[in-house]
Subunit: 220 residues, 2 copies
């Protein structure tokens, strides 16, 4: 660990002047949420590698043992931060209008995910670091994200089949294939490499391809 960097952190952040010396009693759920908020903010500001669980505890005026009760490792913190971000995202996506055609719904879903990453490019170092940790540690939050989006696509496909727009027997297979086809415009790494206007055109055309496949009576 970089000791110089740690010293800078200690000077600027560790005097919780506006906090009471004794923390008020909180539920386990509240404490967990507070730990995640603080960990996310510190990781974002100083980088994953240079923040320890002890730093997080200090920032919260908590004992490290108390943080350990909730999260045994920094990796488990990353997993929980990612899971929370995914849940938040799924909640947002559930608000998308479900009245338009299935094609418009798929496009709205893909565009929303794409714009998220485009708007979040300034966060890119943080996001990439989190993704690298999840890959190296084989955390299942990437898989969980995939499942949630595949479930949403499956629902759109089922609705499209119910109103006669789509002709698909194996909804799950096509929902997975649709997700994979959209990777080029929703994966943060792919988005990091391309210009927004090109991505928007691609997104539209790949959604057109998916929609045409699902409308085809041969797609069973």
């Amino acid at each position: 660990m970089d000791q110089d960097c740690r010293k800078t952190k200690d000077l600027t952040r560790t005097a919780p002047i506006e906090r009471t010396p004794k923390r008020p009693r909180r539920s386990a759920e509240e404490t967990r949420g507070e730990i995640l908020d603080t960990a996310e903010e510190l990781f974002r500001t100083y980088g994953f590698a240079s923040v320890s669980i002890a730093d997080i505890a200090t920032d919260l005026s908590m004992s490290p043992a108390n943080v350990f009760k909730h999260f045994r490792t920094k990796t488990s913190l990353v997993d929980a931060i990612a899971a929370r971000a995914i849940e938040q995202k799924v909640h947002e996506l559930a608000q998308l209008d479900s009245t338009p055609s299935p094609r418009e719904r798929i496009l709205a879903l893909a565009t929303h995910l794409m714009m998220d990453h485009l708007n979040g490019r300034k966060d890119a170092p943080f996001v990439f670091e989190m993704i690298l940790v999840t890959i190296k540690e084989e955390l299942d939050c990437g898989e969980r994200f995939r499942h949630m989006i595949v479930d949403m696509l499956a629902q759109i496909i089922r609705d499209g089949a119910a109103d006669g727009t789509y002709h698909v027997d194996d909804v799950d297979k096509f929902a997975n294939a649709a997700f994979d086809a959209l990777v080029c415009v929703i994966h943060p790494v792919m988005i990091g490499l391309e210009k927004p206007d090109i991505l928007a055109t691609r997104c539209n055309q790949v959604v057109g391809l998916i929609d045409a496949a699902l409308r085809s009576p041969l797609a069973k």
Copy 2:
């Protein structure tokens, strides 16, 4: 530049004992090819950052001025190495059997590209370094690769339309969409993150999606 690393290189590689002191006269084309062979080998062995044009010249018993006549920068060497690899790849792909159904041809093309990267995983550090340079320097070899594969997909789609299998007016639009949909199984970064059997299933299903879209009379 890392001087220690350079010294190791000088000790192990710079005495061209099997070469005559005066190099035989070569055509500009031959010299260019020799420079690319040597640059690729040195980049692969020592990494892009720690090999200079002077190193490449020394290894070839050539004057740096002579190398400079062909390539002004290391970046232009990377562009030329990538372009050569792409041409080689396109030549290999042109040998693929063109008698099966268009779906089988798209699958063969995608599988070939996917397996290339899977087999080349041991080369991953070299390949990733080259990709990073092409992105940072905005070299056009990535675009060239895309164009060549899109052209191949367009040819398969046109053949499929000619025999009545496919119903597509805007071949170019669908060839581009098909390429984008396949990014999840042919992009080296995406392939680096997944297990081969999962990739094979995905490849098959995305090709099925593309094929269903192209067969649909609604796909115009």
